[in-house]
Amino acid sequence: MSALATTKASATRARRTLGWLLLAPAVVLLGAVVAYPVGRLLYASLHQLNLVDPAATRFVGLANYAELFADPNFWHATGVTLRLALVTIPGAMLLGLVLALAADSDSRWRWAVRLALLLPWALPPGFCGMMFAWFFNSDYGVVNDLLVRLGQTPRPFLVAPGPAFFAVSLASIWKASSFVALILLAGLQTIPAELVEVARLEGATRWQRFRHVTLPLLWPSILVALIFRSIAALQAFDIPYSMTQGGPGRSNETLAILTNTLVTEFLDIGYGSALATLLLGLSLVLSVPYLRGLYRSHD
């Protein structure tokens, strides 16, 4: 081996060693905050483990999961989560698309438009829930005020299950749509203006230009936004919790709220862990398309 080759090999080794060393802190952090907790989660989900009576801890196999599938509260929370997802995912995508199209123009209001798209995204979802609880207040809320002005009867929004679901959905759509809009706006701005211009000169109407030029080119961004929206919708917690604490009653109790209640109120760690494991599994399944895309674009 020539001297040059030896130097080169040792330089490669030094580079790789540094690579692993720089990667190590991330691995340690993920190990401590994700991998080890997930291990404990799986372990706890297979045990009867209640903090009210820690001495009674014992291995129960899949009994917690069996109990979960027989628990009407679990199916109720699953239903709420799915209904919320089915309403808020298309709602946020649609509103996000409208906002992105509306914001996609070179106006001198560019700065303010950006701020108006960013603020709902950056606002803590817990704040957002409280704000919308106020807007939907039966007596002094602005929503009922507008309804009265339009000649409608005011509604007791947050104290009846159906209207509360509507209010929670609307707050969630508002909050999520700005993230969707920001992703789609970035997508829109990569579409060459000439392409749309050519279609216009060819006599395509505004709708035809959108349908046959813009939309197909925007599709990748729509998919990205859709995946993130779905993952987030599955984990819905902050807005329903801060608006109505999952209520009235349990009517808006999502899976994440139920997990939180089981653990923090009933201290039923084993049972809560089975539910948390299920949530984790579902979330991973939903992440697969995104992760596959990520892997393809980086390997």
Partner: protein, 273 residues
């Protein structure tokens, strides 16, 4: 040309109204007195604007402490997150480790774990370590929450740095770590600050973990603290609104100062929705 111009103005108005009106309504509410609030029909513009709600927001609950806690947790978790993800991103983008795509995907997938799932074991672990109701109980998970977005933003940036730069520094006798620290990092200040801003916002917003891991009177963060203004049957909306405005001002300032960065970072590393 004229009608088209009008349509685009209308579109701008729609975006502004959608994004800003809810927060402005809260701002208007915070300036109304309790008496005015109880008027029917409700008033839109405050008749006699008053700042007493702000005084009450600071005196009825330790609002300043909530802000301090949120800020402390956000700054420290963002610092931890950016430090850790800068190293990882550089290793994956430039140091030619085997299967960088796989490593990156594993890293991102681990960090995409739902906080609701981690809540139970993290609660037990933090309790075991005596860290419940401390900043640290939130700093560690909040740093992980932003790890994917920060790593993706930094990987994308490091890839744009030409290899010749590192090679020249190596020939000049710089070590590989020296290249990272003295050549790459100084060049990356814009990308590092983008990553830091995204991590700050994520931590500022975190609610679920904070509610359980850090609900102590002295260490609780803003989203948890703001829940305390409501009694069991009372909702002092003007005071709550004032507290919400106080909690929103730092975000508005950050967005006003760095909106290009936030938009750019969100779209390269868009992970949180």
């Amino acid at each position: 040309m004229k009608p088209r111009l009008r349509l685009s103005n209308l579109a701008v108005l729609l975006v502004l109204l959608n994004g800003l009106a809810p927060s402005l309504w809260v701002l208007l509410t915070s300036l109304k007195s309790d008496v005015e609030l109880a008027q029917r029909p409700i008033t839109w513009w405050p008749e006699h604007a008053t700042f007493t709600n702000y005084l009450r927001a600071f005196s009825e609950q330790p609002l300043l402490r909530f802000v301090g806690n949120s800020l402390g947790v956000a700054v420290l978790s963002a610092a931890l997150c950016v430090t850790v993800s800068a190293g990882a991103a550089y290793a994956l983008a430039k140091l030619r480790l085997p299967r960088p795509g796989l490593l990156l995907t594993l890293l991102v997938s681990a960090a995409l774990c739902p906080p609701a799932s981690l809540l139970v074991p993290l609660f037990e672990i933090m309790r075991g370590l005596g860290l419940l109701n401390t900043w640290l109980a939130l700093i560690l998970p909040n740093a992980v929450l932003s790890l994917p977005v920060c790593t993706l933003v930094l990987v994308a940036f490091f890839r744009t740095i030409p290899d010749e730069l590192a090679e020249a520094a190596l020939i000049d006798g710089c070590s590989h770590f020296g290249v990272f620290r003295r050549v790459v990092l100084p060049l990356s200040v814009p990308a590092l600050s983008t990553a830091a801003i995204l991590a700050l916002v994520n931590s500022w917003d975190e609610f679920l973990l904070a509610l359980t891991l850090n609900a102590g009177a002295h260490t609780r963060t803003l989203p948890v603290g703001l829940m305390l203004y409501q009694g069991e049957f009372t909702f002092p909306w003007p005071v709550i609104s004032a507290a919400l405005v106080v909690g929103t001002i730092p975000i508005v300032l950050l967005l006003a100062a760095a909106q290009e960065r936030v938009v750019g970072g969100l779209t390269t590393g868009g992970v949180k929705g």
